[in-house]
Symmetry: C2
Subunit: 275 residues, 2 copies
């Protein structure tokens, strides 16, 4: 593991590391923000999963989250969104292949060797963080768009592993929308049962742990009707009796300006669960 | 004037406009953040001048300043750093030509036709802002690196025009350091008297208005010794009796992580003078 960026930020350190991921079989970057409190104590960790086209850089440069993490004493960990490198297969378009791992473990060729972001985020990365940084085992997870899908599905599939979960503009029903159908067909094949295991509105139906879901969605989001459809999550949670706070935020779009505007509230939400 | 970006942000709007600049003789972009208060009243304006290689985008995507502007009811205006377009001359290297206007009015060919960022920032842009937005004539100015140089020199050269001024990691003595010497030789020629009229440590010597200077400088800044040399500003202000708050910030480098960490304090400083 090599530290490739190290920058003072809100009294702590915004770092970026490169390591060889055994799960993904490639070199990967991830970002870690260490709040000032981490100099003296183990701190809880909020994992942030980014959306399509992002790397580990987008969240750390644009969201302004470090201020709130420093206030609450929370470590922020932001992985990349897919395996990387010349040996990793890719596809035309921004919504499949590199930058579009969709937080699943692919089962289909040529994707299945490297595209295992689910296991990377759930197992390999937390083990690395908890072994090498002043991190406690108190974990929370959040993300945006494809990463909101990742955060919600990962929390629902791993009861007890995360103390809290939230999402911005998540893809809540990938099995039903163009982004998800394209990615799942490629990564998981045509078996719709496999798709359901990575679909928030499907997972809510059988969730044993009723971890409350916090979701913010801009009502001026350009992908609202075609790709996001938060009403499907609302209906699924209502039907299953799963606790959901879904906030439609007036005027906001799909950009990091929306995330920056609301990330403080999400981090406060996670801090209440984590500390 | 055409609005090319319009995004909800902290209860206000982060917009970007394109217009034809008569002063620069080209199409220019500038960013305007309108805080929530601007929906109901005229608000004071903080002009932000960015550093080498930047456009109007860097500050609005990376500094996290909108949160504080929304708290204090301040409009943020961030111009580009040079004239733009195919007709505008450029040079090899990131520190001359496009992205490196240095906030001077060039007098030398081929630069003098377009490279007039001083007059653009002092006259044309504020006139446009005050005529077309809910802006009062209460102005403040700040900036980073080359833009810190711009903010300090523009405030010192225009007594009464700005209520407050601050800078991050400014080039305080461009006549004495490589970045400044290269740019001033090209834009202003070899007449050192012309250089002194755009040099903070020179301008402080004869400033009639003792506008206090607030300067933050990271002590891990990679350009500290070669290009920035804040000790020259400290000595000049002490010698001239000019009020200066120069804060060496431990561990911080030249990046936007430094700006993000301290911009809240700068905006509070400007708010005290503006409102």
């Amino acid at each position: 593991m090599e530290r490739i960026e190290h920058r003072a930020c809100f009294g702590g350190w915004q770092d970026v590391y490169r390591h060889h991921s055994a799960v993904l079989d490639c070199e990967m970057n991830f970002a870690v923000y260490l709040p000032p409190q981490a100099a003296n104590e183990r701190c809880p960790v909020l994992y942030w999963l980014s959306g399509l086209t992002c790397t580990e850089q987008n969240f750390i440069t644009k969201a302004g989250a470090q201020r709130y993490a420093a206030e609450h004493g929370i470590i922020l960990v932001a992985p990349d969104t897919s395996p990387r490198g010349d040996a990793v297969p890719d596809a035309e378009g921004y919504d499949l292949g590199k930058g579009a791992g969709f937080y699943v473990d692919a089962t289909q060729a040529p994707w299945s060797r490297h595209y295992r972001m689910y296991s990377y985020v759930v197992d390999e990365l937390p083990a690395l963080i908890e072994a090498n940084f002043p991190a406690s085992d108190a974990r929370a997870i959040s993300g945006h768009s494809m990463g909101g899908h990742g955060a919600l599905t990962i929390a629902l599939k791993n009861p007890g592993r995360y103390r809290s979960v939230s999402a911005f503009s998540p893809i809540v029903a990938p099995s039903q929308v163009p982004w998800g159908k394209k990615a799942f067909a490629a990564y998981l094949g045509e078996d719709r049962e496999a798709w359901r295991r990575y679909d928030t509105v499907e997972l809510v139906k059988s969730a044993t742990e009723k971890l409350p879901l916090l979701v913010d969605q801009g009502d001026a989001d350009e992908f609202l009707a075609t790709q996001l459809q938060p009403e499907l999550l609302h209906a699924a949670c209502e039907s299953a009796g799963h606790p959901l706070t879904l906030r439609m935020q007036r005027g906001y779009d799909h950009s990091y300006y929306f995330i920056a505007s609301c990330i403080g509230d999400h981090i406060a939400h996670h801090a209440r669960a984590l500390r």
